[in-house]
Assembly symmetry: C2
Homo-oligomer: 220 residues x 2
């Protein structure tokens, strides 16, 4: 378990993350990050988190939704830990479906102030699955993990005891299914759904499918 | 202009942001943030950024896309600056369309490693507009700003001089249109597109519209 606030996790990627490549602006952050990863020379706090992820069977991100995404400190955990050479990139399998972190379950568990209807299929904030797509598909699926449907507690700015108890029970049920529930059936890159230009092949989707649903296999 | 790295911007919201409400875990961060905002007692670095936004005619976020979103340091600027009582919430207009920061243009300008096709309508990463929706609609539109189409430089891990020159020119053209280009025609909350449950009213969309496009007015 990594309690980022308790750990005083540093959120911003900076030159201290790459001790062998200080302040080399010509090199660029991507290259410095990748070289440090491959050389095993990342800052110790990053290396320790990578080791936890490497060891894990499942990754759960528990967070309050702030501005329709993860809080900055958690974004900083994502930015700093999932380096090129660890979560994707050279010397690891290609991204998506068989990616570097394949074999792990992944779960987003979020609390939020909005009502459920505002995140429903026609809700003004956008469907929860679409709003969380950058993390579900962009981080989890991209690195090869198998994301489950997110777990959400809505209207959570104030949570009376009865709703807290119900939410706790529902979360427990989701954790019971962590290794048995069906992951979101995102489409596969190596499976032939996409062309070499990384676009979904024509006709792959069911008629009427649009938006980010294009990237989910039609339900059987 | 706020150069967050040069400013050593603190990314994580914490108790230091609310000097009058230190470490009051019972109060909660939302309430502490809101009370400090309404009392004019936010940390000076937050107050200074709010003053810049208040003064502005347009807000441009310039960033490298990391993990399909803004870098943590910029997420921390969003999390810390757009407090309840400033960007939304009590004593300001209701969110969306006529929100607290109405009258301002807003532009996302992002560089990214992926090719344009991977962010195109059928691209594997999702359409760029969908991936950026949490910021475009969730931050800009929610607080009343008028977001323009994002400006993107793709395949930007290495940018030869000719492509850099072309990107610079294209960006200049977008900046020339900052106050004259048509904003993304997101639907209005006060204009009657949504019901009291914050769901888009039945039949409001053109046939075949799905996904996050539901929240954009059909083009005339």
């Amino acid at each position: 378990m990594s309690d980022l606030y308790a750990m005083k996790w540093k959120a911003a990627v900076d030159a201290d993350d790459f001790p062998d490549h200080p302040a080399d602006r010509q090199l660029g952050v991507m290259a410095a990050s990748e070289r440090s990863t491959l050389a095993g020379r990342l800052a110790p706090d990053i290396a320790a988190e990578q080791e936890k992820v490497r060891w894990s069977d499942a990754v759960i991100l528990q967070f309050p939704m702030w501005w329709f995404s993860v809080p900055a400190i958690l974004k900083g955990w994502i930015d700093r830990v999932f380096t090129s050479g660890f979560g994707y990139g050279p010397e690891v399998p290609p991204p998506y479906s068989e990616g570097a972190l394949a074999g792990r379950r992944a779960l987003l568990s979020a609390t939020m102030g909005a009502r459920e209807s505002a995140f429903s299929d026609r809700g003004i904030h956008g469907r929860l699955a679409d709003v969380l797509h950058p993390v579900q598909h962009g981080l989890f699926w991209f690195t090869g993990m198998a994301p489950l449907e997110p777990f959400a507690v809505y209207d959570a700015n104030e949570l009376p005891q009865d709703r807290f108890t119900a939410a706790k029970q529902a979360y427990g049920q989701r954790l019971d299914g962590l290794f048995t529930d069906e992951p979101v059936p995102f489409r596969s890159l190596v499976g032939g759904d996409y062309g070499r230009d990384m676009r979904l092949l024509p006709g792959a989707e069911s008629p009427g499918t649009a938006g980010l649903d294009l990237h989910v296999h039609p339900q059987a």
